[in-house]
């Protein structure tokens, strides 16, 4: 009997274009999917959920999702919830900032070293959720 292929965890950042925190959600996601857990995690284009792309909606219903949001609007989480996706965790960057008040991220196009540090802290939280749920 062949071993059942373990489904990957999908990390979904909001990628907000208006604030540096949106870029940090995106950076944190790539740190997880490309550096820390490349075999266990993947990402998708959030806008595909916004336009109700059928394949993407099916994917988030079948695969555990962790959302990473940059502001109170929580677009990533709300898009997943709207489609009844399998939400296994959510991270709000604003909470991570409160835990690390000395880190002052730069701009949307250049998050600066503090933004990178913040992204790594967020990435660690994502890794912990994946570990706890695996």
């Amino acid at each position: 009997m062949s071993e059942k292929k373990k489904s990957k965890h999908i990390i979904i950042p909001c990628s907000g274009i208006g604030k540096a925190l949106g870029t940090i959600t995106r950076r944190a996601t790539y740190i997880v999917t490309e550096e820390l857990l490349p075999n266990e995690t993947d990402t998708i284009c959030l806008p595909l959920l916004t336009i109700k792309d059928e394949d993407t909606v099916r994917k988030i219903r079948e695969t555990p999702c962790i959302t990473v949001d940059g502001c109170v609007a929580q677009c990533a989480k709300k898009n997943v919830e709207h489609h009844h996706g399998k939400l296994e965790g959510e991270i709000k960057i604003l909470d991570v900032m409160k835990e690390n008040p000395k880190l002052k991220p730069g701009t949307v196009l250049d998050i600066a070293p503090d933004g990178e540090k913040l992204a790594r802290k967020v990435a660690e939280k994502v890794v912990k959720i994946v570990g706890d749920k695996s």
């Binding site: 909001c14 274009i17 208006g18 959920l49 677009c75």
Partner: protein, 135 residues
Amino acid sequence: MKIKPKIGLVSCSGEGISEGMISRVATRRILEERDDVVTICLPLFLAGGQEERDFAKDNPCITVDGCSKMCASKGVKIYGKVQPKSSIVISEIIDRDKRLKPKSKSRIDPEDEKLVHETMKIINKEIEKVKEKEE
């Protein structure tokens, strides 16, 4: 006196493809260079309220999409119930010169600057066209 609406630039910023990073960076750079454009986070069309959905009605929109799925363009049509004034697709720019294809979805490499600049040039041109038509 009637105040002219700003041009709405809507980028897909797709996380899953390298072209999404190009759409995001090119759009953001234009926003920082010009004062006649505004933007909205695309996922807010679904996650936000009526005010966000009215963005495309209130501002003539130019969409900047990474691929042929054209999420930004479709988002404007679905939620704003209007057609974008212009739709730019990064994969179509690459089709005209395959050497421009970016390798990474997580960063802009020095060799990707050419594609970012080409995209910005097209966005600026489309902004001028839309402004001319709106006057």
